[in-house]
Amino acid sequence: MTSATSHFALDHEEALIFDLGDTQRSGVDLPPPPAHKSRLGNAARTAEIGLPGLSEPEAVRHYTRLSRKNYAIDMGVFPLGSCTMKHNPRLNEKMARLPGFADIHPLQPMSTVQGALELMELLAHWLTTLTGMPAVALSPKAGAHGELCGLMAIRAAHEARGDARKVVLVPESAHGTNPATAALCGYEVKSIPANARGRVDVEALKAALSREVAALMLTNPNTCGLFENDILAIAKAVHDIGAYFYCDGANFNAIVGRVRPGDLGVDAMHINLHKTFSTPHGGGGPGSGPVVLSAALQSFAPLPYVVRDGEQLRLVEQRDAAAQNFGRLSAFHGQMGMYVRALAYMMSHGADGLRRVAEDAVLNANYVLASLKDVMSASFEGPCMHEALFDDRFLKDTGVSTLDFAKAMIDAGYHPMTMYFPLVVHGALLIEPTESESKASLDVFIDDMRELALAAKAGDAARFTAAPLHAPRRRLDETQAARKPVLRWEKQA
């Protein structure tokens, strides 16, 4: 089998650092230390570690070559539904590297970090204003950590009333983090079905509501890319039985500046700064997941938080006897580096620009939906919000699966859309173009997708099942990887 790549000369095979380097080499020049008496007691290291070293030119080449084996937003359309792969402005990066943000220690005297605390206060102001919520806990380190924060606050609020509840309701279309988080907080998870319109089945929800229910966790806009149009009735039903409404804010990008979650009756919602507010995904992190809280929950927010004493800002880092907060989610104060980036992004757009972000994201998704629905099978009637959901009906009897279709997109020069999620439709293909795509780039993308869909229907299955042919690697054997896990390099005997 030949595996042609369109840019073979630029795609180098690259060895592992363990094959390239050795334990004596180093790319860091350090002076020999003066003689001194060791204070390590009887715990000094004697054994070899085995870490290879590289000189600087070797290291730069190694990581540069590796980088070229990755797809990235900077390179092309990244229509990965529910992940909001928007452009990452470089101003954000520059601002985060200002020494007054990048080079300050979380525990240096508060008098020496007043600007950092003010930035946190400013970020909080933007987030609470955009969401119409009274308070925000900044410290959660990612979306799922934010979910934990929200559910912890909810549980603390119930317990403060002596009301031990056991159940959290989660729609079946939810992200896996929702049930996983509820379980971490000691809750039993009950699943709520979706209706034929891709929304929560309100009757099923009402039937499941009881005094045992602590909270509903709902993503809105939901994972089918649809706005839950019964949201106000849902929130009311949840509140009527004394439960709280947790909103998974993963899809806030569709409504930022147009809808305030506070107006929907939300009690807690995490905001993925790496989605809506453009901090880089970085190949899997770091994220940042501040949680906005309603008046009912705000006193249960975790430590630390910023307070103002006149001109001076101060972090509250310890619980006092009166406080109801549930404790601390992580050491220190959260993801400062991400706060700076997100704030730079928000200030750049302003209130008017953020509104436009949501509108353009929704417009782009609907444009894709309208342009593809005659050749692919749209799961629900439009309009959609920021992402368009298709299922695999258009591939029926073609011998091409959703996975094959996605892998063929790689050969066409794209990152695949999200596949097989949400679970409520068969063979899901979830496309989120984001507002970062121009009409010209969407038009090319649409042409290419149409060509692929028509090729699949025309019986050209081999092109799909063999794909990708033009990537640095072809399909990888995940079964072997899981059956006999090799999680590290080992020296050959």
Binding site: S26, F101, A142, G350, A482
Partner: protein
């Protein structure tokens, strides 16, 4: 707006293809009562220059570590990071890529994660490591939860030498489970003896090395005591550079090692983003939280890497997952692995010796001051000193003299008992001149 490519003409043409007349028609599922018809009350869009001006002004109101003699540690450390590290992590193919769920076009990320996992396993002396967690403190909490899954026991013993905020995070993570935490009182003067606390109900013993107060301990006897009762030994390392000079936790008999990896490749950034290290024995691999990268082959038989053992994770196991985590500190782990590759074994070991020497020199100089005693017999690059006055006042007065002189223990352990204790860290960045300035300033304020 510089980040939004659509022109008004584009928008009109796109709306026409969709078959609606205005963008609000696309929001028709939103109840009219909550659809905002004008912008929220926040400032309007600003150009790069204007944003830079505001943020630079805020930045300038902070005292950067590099601008002053600097001795602050307690779980986050100032180290010199080679210039090439930041250059490489800013390559768009790393910075703007996603979690490597499509391995054919993510081999760059996957290969460095495989290399990273190997480096962490080597450093900690363990068999396997994951692709990183949020930070050291959350990794520590995850380790306690994992020990429960492995041992099916519920009692965790927490050393008084554990960073107090790490202890708080463990408390939060177990607040609504039926786990029992035995938290030992702060072990200021010497490491605490935990062996006697372990019994047949104990799931794990959590101990930090070097401890929060700086003590370096040979944990082999504790590992044996834990093993004898079927409990796991969890070793926490908040200063990963120490592993270049101190016997690895694996060699001492640890079952799980968690750590804060910030010291390698990552700046202080006021506490985050950092990266949590997580390593364990092969036999516990399937109980680990977080992402794992594994080696395999593609259909042409070429070596490649994939995320693997994902059935442990939330996107498949949902409420039965080992953790709800859905991230790793990707870019921070990239910075870590690049810096570590540049150092190599020889560089890391030398760096560790330099750190130790810097701290030894400073400890000697400080203990010569009247009324100041160094509490520790052993330490790596950080130690505890007892001052004749409240340490919180002293650090403010030192700051007024342009010296960032350490962390008052009372900031993390409030109350009179610890008021006179100051944690002092000295890394390779603490040159003789800075040290002498610190000693002189401290002499003045005392």
């Amino acid at each position: 707006m510089r980040y939004l490519p659509l022109s008004d003409g584009d928008r009109t043409a796109m709306l026409a293809r969709i078959g609606v007349s205005r963008v609000d028609d696309l929001y028709r599922d939103v109840p009219a009562s909550v659809l905002l018809d004008k912008p929220v009350n926040l400032p309007p869009a600003q150009g790069e220059m204007a944003v830079e001006r505001v943020l630079s002004r805020l930045s300038a109101r902070n005292v950067a570590a590099g601008s002053a003699p600097f001795f602050v540690g307690a779980g986050a450390y100032k180290h010199h990071v080679p210039a090439s590290v930041d250059h490489l992590i800013q390559r768009g193919e790393f910075l703007t890529s996603y979690t490597p769920y499509q391995p054919e076009i993510a081999q760059g990320t996957l290969q460095y994660l495989f290399e990273f996992q190997t480096q962490v396993a080597m450093l900690t002396g363990m068999e396997v490591a994951n692709a990183s967690m949020y930070d050291g403190s959350t990794a520590c909490a995850e380790a306690v939860l994992m020990a429960r899954r492995v041992t099916k026991r519920k009692k965790a013993i927490i050393s008084g030498g554990l960073h107090p905020q790490y202890g708080d995070v463990v408390k939060t993570a177990t607040a609504f489970t039926d786990d029992e935490l035995i938290i030992n009182p702060p072990a200021v003067a010497a490491p605490d003896d935990l062996a006697a606390l372990i019994d047949g109900e104990t799931s794990c013993v959590v101990v930090q090395n070097p401890s929060f107060f700086g003590h370096v301990v040979d944990l082999r006897p504790l590992a044996q005591a834990a093993q004898a009762k079927g409990a796991l030994l969890i070793v926490v390392v908040t200063e990963v550079v120490s592993l270049g000079a101190v016997m690895s936790p694996g060699e001492m008999g640890a079952d799980i090692v968690v750590g804060e990896g910030q010291s390698i490749g990552n700046g202080l950034t006021f506490g985050g983003p950092y990266l949590g290290l997580f390593a364990t024995r092969q036999k516990y691999m399937r109980q680990m939280p977080g992402r794992l990268c594994g080696e395999t082959v593609d259909v042409d038989g070429r070596r490649g890497f994939v995320l693997t053992l994902s059935t442990r994770e939330q996107h498949i196991r949902r409420e039965k997952a080992t953790s709800n985590i859905c991230t790793n500190s990707g870019l921070c782990s990239l910075a870590f692995t690049i810096h570590m590759s540049l150092l190599g074994e020889a560089g890391l070991r030398r760096l560790a010796v330099i750190n130790h020497e810097r701290a030894c020199r400073l400890a000697e100089a400080l203990s010569a001051l009247p009324g100041v005693t160094v509490v520790n017999d052993t330490f790596f690059n950080e130690f505890t000193v007892r001052l004749p006055r409240a340490a919180s006042d002293v650090v403010e007065e030192l700051a007024a003299r342009g010296v960032l002189g350490g962390v008052p223990v009372s900031r993390l352990l409030p109350g009179e008992t610890f008021a006179d204790l100051l944690l002092v860290a000295a890394t390779e960045t603490a040159g003789d001149e800075d040290q002498d300035a610190f000693v002189a300033a401290l002499r003045e304020v005392l």
